[in-house]
Symmetry: C2
Subunit: 225 residues, 2 copies
């Protein structure tokens, strides 16, 4: 890999979570000339937030996004409040790490505390997502931390994210206003016949809504990744 | 199950293909008061077309759709010609069975004769689908057999159907004209935020494009059904 290539690379730390701790991943990036990193919250928590921030800075790495906030729908108000509080902490952590945005995987149908889906009201879940992002934006704007909606493949609509198209993410950006953008992962959106048009729509907004563009992994079939 | 319920039921014969041959499925439908049946081509071929048509008629069953034509994309002209010829035969079989439409699973990325995907040109595959349906329509209109595009879940975009939304199917109907409609399977389209609008669009066309509406099975997660 030459230097021009490696300068464009950013490693999503979930991809090597089985092999390495976050400090080991940071060392690996430095060693292999990978200049960008997108760390995950659980890995940061396991290694310590401040220590991770120092290691990333000392390694000369750029944080390209913090994974992840979201999971807004819940079966009751208490659950939605817990998600909101947790998402505020994620915004704070993203600031400490110097991330350019907090990536949101918005959540699917409302689940109870054991992760069991307790409702099939998809429209209701989408309303909870809109309201949840709206509430979090009030906090994130004050903190100066952009939020990036990541549309996930419709395969995950029930359990992980009920925003599954760029068009839906763009509509939320239209409705909710500044401080909100989109994280495009080719793995999730490649199938969409409106993809090119909706990427142009996101790019032509002022400022651009395209906060990150990534490809987490290749598509395998059948896919349960 | 009361009679009002069973009159509304139609059995897609793929759902019990492991348990029964098609003659056994037909007998089972008659025995249990299921009045509709949507047979699959391979099961019909195994049991004999004319015999199946007679058994269905003698049992007083209604064919609600014939599964399936399609699979238009191929790596070369010879492959596309073979698909066209096979689809003409499917139209003829649908007529013999008294089906109200031939359901089209349109195919994904071009595969070679061993089923290996040989191209990642999704736009090209969608053009082959449009052209393939257009050619088949010339024959199907003459035979008086409506064609019904079945949008499949985007999970299948690479290997089984690169038409994955009602909007895409409606656009093809707009472009290709009479004799073409849509087969809606809730299993495949439930996640679509534009579903209600696009069903209304299909229903308000004249004649209605909604040729069948089914729910093949429940959504399981993760799903590779």
């Amino acid at each position: 890999m030459n230097s021009a290539d490696s300068n464009l690379l950013s490693l999503n730390t979930a991809t090597v979570r089985k092999q390495w701790s976050l400090p080991e991943i940071i060392d690996g990036c430095v060693r292999h000339g990978i200049r960008g990193i997108a760390p995950w919250r659980d890995q940061v928590a396991a290694a310590g937030l401040k220590d991770c921030a120092l290691r990333i800075r000392d390694g000369g790495l750029t944080v390209t996004g913090y994974c992840r906030g979201g999971m807004f729908p819940a079966v009751d108000r208490e659950g939605r409040r817990a998600a909101h509080d947790d998402n505020r902490r994620a915004v704070d952590e993203a600031l400490t790490l110097g991330a350019p945005c907090l990536i949101l995987v918005v959540g699917g149908l409302p689940q109870d505390r054991d992760g069991v889906i307790r409702s099939k009201d998809l429209l209701g879940a989408r309303e909870m997502v809109r309201d949840g992002i709206g509430d979090l934006l009030d906090y994130a704007r004050g903190a100066g931390m952009p939020l990036a909606i990541e549309p996930l493949h419709p395969m995950y609509a029930a359990d992980r994210a009920c925003v599954n198209t760029m068009a839906h993410a763009n509509a939320l950006c239209d409705e909710l206003g500044t401080g909100l953008g989109i994280a495009v992962d080719v793995y999730h959106v490649w199938w969409d016949p409106d993809l090119e048009r909706e990427i142009e729509r996101a790019a032509s907004a002022s400022p651009s809504r395209l906060l990150t563009i990534t490809s987490a992994t290749g598509w395998c079939r059948p896919s349960t990744c």
